[in-house]
Structures are given as structure tokens and as C-alpha cells.
Symmetry: C2
Subunit: 407 residues, 2 copies
């Protein structure tokens, strides 16, 4: 079964992009003005940038050389990506972020770290020798509307690897792992051993256990009985290396476009692929849900913040005694918060921490605050109840939405 077939059936194409584009527009139009007017960034987090919206559900592939990482990506894309190398010897010699672009091109690592619409600024800290081993491969390919894939150099065993590498490999793995939605560890029927460096990489994934899945690739190249031995040996050593009690999910099969060599387990491999694809193509929806969730939380917080700042401004005397009035307002902030809650019908649980605000407010001059802008706040309310709700409807099954979004 070609991945196309699967994609055609169950995948909701561009779902993630649609949602995120929608949120970006709503943010610029309704939320950003409010955040700017009431100095949201000073109290909470900076304005959202292009890159905050642009980072897509990311799949990180890690494994020994020649286990089929690059072939896996090609299989999912249904085509080559710029700068692709596939071969039985160690081939991929760098980290590659395979991303969507309007045309096929390669962006070298250092350049990629300064592009404002790419989430790679943080990689600069790994130095020039790493950046010379990092590139962005842009391809105009529909799958990449919803995903970014991180292809990595195969892990070698023993001394060999250290010779070529003069950068912090496991550090880089950790950086990408933190920013990925799915981390695939690839093994194949002939490459099961977990070298020291591989083990260090796996240890870097601690805390991301729910994102880690394993692929036992090329499973069609061995007999059923051999496969059981191979698979058993893999689980045995993964059990020793991974510090969690829950069994990691291993997908057994052959993840490329060719026919199975040994057909004995074809039905199993097909089911395994289906399960993996279901998980994979569920990621954009999950990520979209998460983005909406965060967006709603942020919008509610920005609104409450605006009410607080606007209210405080309105409590200031018109002419004299401003400093004293400001000090008193900070001191009595708990009472003011109660007034704000009542006036704007804010649930008690949605009010921020009084003491933190007392702390932060000391750095401001209340005279420069803006009054409550009823129209702006109404806009945010409308955005949440109408536009964001409409985006939510795009998502396949709203029954499983987190409660904060579904309410």
C-alpha cells in the first residue's frame, strides 16, 4: 500500500497550516493590538513572531547509519528532497531540516539560523562546525505543509564517529528532540546494536518518552523466526537502555516504496504501517489542537490583563498625588482585583497572581497606562467565540479536544 493511498483517505491535508494561518491572522488583527496597548509583553511573554506560528509538527529521525532514515522520509514525501543521499554506506553526513518551500532549494545552516520565519535561531549556540553540518532542504511538497522532518547523520559505533565530528552531537539531538512532536528511533534487522553514542542520545530523550517510537525496518528481509529473534533482541536491549517502565511502541515493517521481499508477514507489516501512519497523520491535528489551546489561553490572559491595566489607569487621580495613589493601588491590589472581577465578569480562577502583579507593577508609571477599550475587548471575545470556534470545527473529532478548548 502506497502512503499516497493512505494520505488520500484519512489525511485532512493542510489542516495544520489552515489552523495556524487562521490563528496568525486573528492574532495580528485582534490580539496583537490589545497586547501592545496594555504592555502584555512586559508582564507575560513577548509578542508572537512569525517563527512561533511557522514551526510545524516535527518528526525527528535517529538511528544507526543505513537503517533507512532518509529512505523513510522520501517514502512519506513520495519524492526526493533537495540534497538527498541514500546508500548502504554511511551517507547522510549532516542534520537536514526538510521543510516546505515554494520552490526546491537548499539553505545552508548559518543562513538558516538568521531567517526570521524559521525556528532555528537557537542552533547558533552549537557553533560554526555544527552549522556547516546543518542545512534546510526546502521542497514544494504537499506533505510538508503539515510536517517538518529532521534527517540526521547515522550513528556509527566505537571510535569511528568521534573522528569526523567536532560538534556536540548529543546536544544537538537534545535540542531537536525538545522541539519535535515525534521522535523515531530506527533499527533494522541487521543493525540492532545500541552503541555508546546511541545510548547517550537515547538518554537525552528522557522526559520526551511519550514522543519516542521505534521502527524496526527492513523486517521483510529475514524469515519469521529470525524476525522474532531480532525483534526480541531489540526489545531486550531497549528495555535495558530506556529508563521507563512502559514498553515503547515498535513498528515492525519495511518503510519504503518497494515490495516486501519475504511476504510471510505482509499482513502484520501492513497493519503496523497503518498504525504508524494513523499516529503520524494524527500529529497535525494534535498540534493544531495544542496551538488553539495555547492561543485561547493567551487571548483570555491578554484580555484579563487589559482589564487590570485599564482599571488601574482609571483609578488614578486626574491631577495631584499620583505617586501616592499608585502606591496605594499596588498595596490594595487584592481589593482592586475583586472589583475588576465583578465589573468584567471574570471567573476567579482566571485572575492572575496578585503578588506577582504587585511586584511587576512597581516598575511602571500608571499615568502612561491606557484606559479600558471596550471595543478591543469585545473584539477578542468575538474572535474567541466566533473565529476560533470556526477553526476548531475544521478539526476532525472535537470530542477529544482538551476541555479548555472545547468549552
Amino acid at each position: 500500500m502506497a502512503p499516497e493511498a493512505k494520505r488520500g483517505e484519512e489525511r485532512n491535508p493542510f489542516l495544520y497550516s489552515k489552523v495556524v494561518d487562521g490563528l496568525k491572522k486573528l492574532y495580528k488583527k485582534n490580539l496583537q493590538p490589545l497586547e501592545e496597548q496594555y504592555l502584555f509583553h512586559g508582564f507575560h511573554s513577548p509578542l508572537l513572531s512569525e517563527a512561533d506560528f511557522e514551526s510545524k509538527p516535527t518528526v525527528l529521525l535517529i538511528g544507526q547509519y543505513s537503517t533507512g532514515k532518509t529512505s523513510f522520509i522520501r517514502y512519506i514525501l513520495g519524492r526526493d528532497y533537495p540534497g538527498i543521499h541514500v546508500g548502504p554506506e554511511p551517507t547522510t553526513d549532516r542534520f537536514l531540516a526538510v521543510m516546505h518551500g515554494s520552490e526546491d532549494r537548499v539553505v545552508p545552516g548559518s543562513a538558516a539560523t538568521i531567517q526570521p520565519d524559521k525556528p532555528f535561531r537557537g542552533l547558533a549556540r552549537y557553533g560554526a562546525s555544527f552549522l556547516s553540518r546543518f542545512q534546510v532542504s526546502e521542497a514544494n511538497c504537499p506533505v510538508l505543509e503539515d510536517f517538518t522532518f529532521i534527517d540526521t547523520p547515522g550513528i556509527l559505533s566505537g571510535e569511528k564517529q568521534r573522528i569526523g565530528r567536532n560538534y556536540d552531537f548529543t546536544g544537538v539531538i537534545k535540542w531537536f528532540a525538545e522541539r519535535s512532536d515525534l521522535i523515531l528511533l530506527l533499527f533494522d534487522a541487521y543493525k540492532l546494536d545500541i552503541s555508546d553514542e546511541f545510548q547517550r542520545c537515547i538518554q537525552q530523550l528522557r522526559g520526551h518518552d511519550d514522543k519516542v517510537k521505534v521502527i524496526l525496518n527492513k523486517a521483510d528481509l529475514v524469515s519469521s523466526q529470525q524476525l522474532m529473534r531480532v525483534y526480541g533482541a531489540l526489545m531486550w536491549s531497549l528495555g535495558k537502555v530506556m529508563p521507563v517502565p512502559e514498553v515503547v511502541r515498535v513498528y515492525i515493517g519495511s518503510f519504503w516504496e518497494n515490495e516486501y521481499v519475504n511476504q510471510d508477514n505482509a499482513a502484520l507489516f501492513d497493519q503496523e504501517r497503518e498504525d504508524l501512519f494513523t499516529h503520524l497523520y494524527g500529529l497535525p491535528r494534535d498540534a493544531a489542537v495544542r496551538k488553539i489551546n495555547e492561543f485561547v489561553k493567551r487571548a483570555r490572559l491578554a484580555k484579563v490583563h487589559a482589564c487590570i491595566i485599564g482599571h488601574l489607569k482609571q483609578q488614578m487621580p486626574a491631577m495631584f498625588g499620583k505617586e501616592k495613589a499608585q502606591a496605594k493601588l499596588i498595596e490594595d491590589l487584592r481589593t482592586e482585583f475583586l472589583k475588576i472581577q465583578r465589573q468584567f465578569h471574570i471567573p476567579a480562577g482566571s485572575m492572575p497572581d496578585v503578588e506577582k502583579y504587585q511586584e511587576m507593577l512597581r516598575d511602571y508609571d500608571f499615568r502612561k497606562f491606557q484606559k479600558v477599550n471596550e471595543r478591543m475587548i469585545a473584539n477578542v471575545d468575538k474572535m474567541l467565540s466566533k473565529n476560533v470556534a470556526a477553526l476548531m470545527e475544521e478539526l476532525p473529532s472535537s470530542s477529544s479536544l482538551p476541555s479548555s478548548v472545547a468549552q
Copy 2:
């Protein structure tokens, strides 16, 4: 495939019994007189008893309740054994040694520990409450000519088990493990968890890792994909629990007389069973080889020992100065050893440790020693080169015999 078929083809029935009976006769006729005459037991080990010859290749079964331990034994025997209980609830409530007997009967635990022809004397130390939970089931069944099976009560999880048991369960497991040739840990597709007590049992098996094999039973009751999950989960937790790097061999299948419910993996299960049977039916041969090996080593040592004692006796003066002569002989033992070596054509490597003998000889009165008995020694030589060699020929493939035997 019924186990009968398999046994008919490849098994050399009674092989083990034949070899051991042969050795026993040879021992009584040729070696024991020599050992007695030259006080071998005082310098090395006691005379061999009936029980030393009688203990057969032993298979110990351990596992959660209802994983099919008892059914496995019944399957191999091709019949019930006295006192058998099979059922889905915890059924086997005691340790059962299933052994050969001229007729079917049950010997209670305490009685079994005092039978001279049974190797269970050592179990007395586990006390009366254990012995009331131990029995020997004798059955007149051909398989039992070559094997003893130890059926054990199913391991329960949590508190349940401790209530019923007022003896040292893991201690008993350890005792049997030391005396077994094969230790089978049984799991089934629905009972994978390794309880605390089970884990303690597995830890008792440390040092016997080469004897431990695992059975994943009832594998035909689940789908292929479920089986992979189940098997993977088992390997994962075994990897965590077993303290060795080498992957333990797991035999996957259904080990009883019934047809497979799910036929999808029939070929795999058949192969797995064949592998297990090959290993199992290889045990008597391996054990026979080991017995022969030990017997040959013992006979050579006894012969050398007889030469030493006889030689020393012959160096003693006929009348006066015996004590001084004995002291001098002990002091110059290294020189005497060289003489003995030359006189009896003993390879240097086969002479025992001089200092140990010096130590031990001090406790003896050389006057009471016997002279060298050429005929007795010739008998032992002949026994080795003719009779033991003939027993060796009974063994299927002498190419893989240990060198000490094959020479």
C-alpha cells in the same frame, strides 16, 4: 506435530539411563575397590552413592499460575502423572518431582528426603511445612527414563501468595535450580507481568543463565499483531529484570496437545517447538557426556592417587625408624612425585598438588597403606580404554565431546 513423533525420530531413548547404568556397574566393579583400598575419600571425595548416579537430567518449570507448566509436563510425557492437577485457577499447590518408577505412585515429601536412591536429602533443611508441600510423583513412563521434571506452584502476585506459604519459596527454587539442567520460565500471552516474588526467583537463577530458557505459551490465542506486542513487552521486561547482556532464548508457541486456535503463525510455532525439543532431547546426551567426563577424570585421579599411596608404602623401611622415614618422605614429596611420574608414565599435568598432599599425608600412618596393586590399576586402565570408550560410542555425535573425554 505430537511430541511422540519427534521423540520417535530423533530421540535416542534411554540413552542417559544406559550410560549411567553402565558407569555405575563399572564403578562398582573396577573403581570403587581401588578407591577403598587407597583411601581415596580421605584425600578427594566420598565414594559415589546410588543417588549420585540416579539423578537424571532435570527440567525445572517456573512461572505464574495457569501459564501451563503442568500441561507442558503432561504434553512431554504424553500422559498424566500421579497427583496431576490442571485448571485455569491456581491449581498446583506444591513442588512435584515427576520421576521414573516401576509403577505409578506418590511419595510424600518427608519420605522422599530419606530415600537413598533419590537426590532430595538436601531438601530437609527447608523444614516440615515445606516438605508437606513437596512430593515425588513416580510414573512408569519412558520419557522419565531420561528426565526428571520439577513442577512448581504458580507464582501469584502481590500479597496473595505470602498468605499461603510458610516456607522459603525462593530458597527452594534456588536449591532446585542448582540441580537442574534446564530451567524453563513460563509466560503466556495473558500473563506477562513479573511480580516481586517472580523477580526474586529470577534473581536466584543468577549464575545459571545458560540453563534458563523462556516459554511464551498460548501464543496461538492472540492475533499476529497482538503477539508482537505481547512478545515485545515480555522481552522488554525480561531485559530489565535479567542481569545478563545476552538475550535469553524465548520459545514462542503453544505447548500442549491441542490444535492451534489461530493458525497464522503455525509455521513459526512448529519451528519453535522443534528447536525447544531439539534442545530438550539433547540434554540427556549432554548430561551423559558430562557424567562420562567426570567419571574419566575421577578414574584417572583415583589411579594416580593409588600409585602415590602404593609408592609411599613401598618406600617405608621394613622394621625400624618408620616415623622418621614417613616424615622424610613427606618432606621430599616433590622428588617422590617425580619418581612416581616416571615409574607409572603419568603426564606431569595429571599429578596432584604436592603441598596439598604433604598437608593431608600428615594425618595418616603410612604403615597402614597398601602396596601398589598392578592388577587393580590395569583394570582401571582397561575399563577406561575399553568399557568407557564403548559407552561413549553410544552417544550420537562424538565430534562434539569435550577433549578430556574424546582423547
